[in-house]
């Protein structure tokens, strides 16, 4: 009967011995050959090896990357460059002279030390006039989203369809 040796081998492993093996205590020297060999296999399988620690530098670098202040700020749901887009006046509402932006130094503005890097400062965002967001004139409007089954994000769709590229932002937050 071909299955009898297998049943015999299975029954040779005492539950107490099995629990000892699972707990990492090994088995006694008087145990049968099967449990002895099994204890050796489990010991080899659980012994740490030096080469398994080879990726430590990469892991620490990744840790520093995801725990940096910028990463934490983004993890809170913020996106750089879009913080005050909805609150800004439309280009057509501004005086013509205000449409020329004034250069600002990095870090200039009301942003305090608690502000993460890249965040737009609170209050009137552009005291010298908001920079132009469109070169198509003041009457430019974002086209309505297509009703096709395109899987592209809508914000990308209208930017690319009018040839403005990825750096444009919608002037009145329609995207």
């Amino acid at each position: 009967m071909p299955y009898l040796p297998r049943i015999g081998g299975r029954q040779s492993l005492d539950p107490a011995v099995a629990e000892g093996l699972l707990a990492g205590r090994g088995c006694c020297p008087e145990a049968p050959a099967g449990p002895q060999a099994l204890a050796h296999v489990l010991d080899v399988a659980s012994s740490p090896r030096e080469e398994e620690l080879a990726g430590e530098a990469a892991a620490v670098a990744a840790f520093l990357l995801v725990t940096s202040p910028v990463a934490r700020w983004r993890a809170d749901g913020n996106e750089p460059g879009c913080a005050a887009a909805g609150a800004q006046p439309r280009v057509s509402d501004q005086e013509p002279g205000d449409q020329v932006p004034k250069a600002r130094a990095i870090g200039e503005g009301k942003g305090g030390p608690e502000d993460p890097p890249g965040r737009a400062p609170e209050g009137p965002p552009w005291p010298q006039g908001r920079p132009l967001t469109s070169r198509r004139g003041a009457d430019f409007r974002c086209p309505p989203p297509l009703k096709s089954a395109s899987r592209l994000p809508q914000a990308r769709h209208w930017r690319y369809s009018v040839g403005l590229g990825p750096v444009m932002s919608c002037p009145d937050g329609q995207a």
């Binding site: 040796p5 093996l21 430590e56 620490v60 840790f63």
Partner: protein
Amino acid sequence: VLEREFRDVLRAAARGDEAAFARLWRDAHPPLLRYLRVVAGEGAEDVAAEVWLEVARRLARFRGGEQEFRGWLFTVARRRIADQRRHSRRHPVWLTGDDAELERPAADDTATEALDNLTTEAALALIATLPQQQAEVIVLRVIAGLDVRQVAQVTGKRPGAVRAAAHRGLRTLAARLSAPADHERGVTR
């Protein structure tokens, strides 16, 4: 195992201390990698990297001791494996290439290293021949050092089912090791 130091190390790592995170990683990465080799197979290294990224992101919100940390780590790993399997089912990859090129050994592959690797890999491969549930439970108990209750939490099974699966798997392994000649000849009973 860090034991008493664990809480201090965890607190420091949660504050962004890289040395503390490195200690956590050195302690928990080898068992994690072995678990993934048995359960996830080829993509173990990639999944391990994703697991540690997620752990690094959420470390500041973790509360608990060392055993709870290990349980959390392997729970994250298990979810990642499920994600990976789902992804590979949707995007199957067919590898093509020259077999001779693929089987060429690395230049720095010495005979000693190969033998050493073979021993550990063979042990893991032997465990991996078990049914998935039994292999996973044995690895979590023996290699990861989790107790029955924690393994039950990680795998979402009852403690009794965990105990039964582990014992059944060990009995199967012991039987195979008792009759290695039959197993090598490919005799299945």
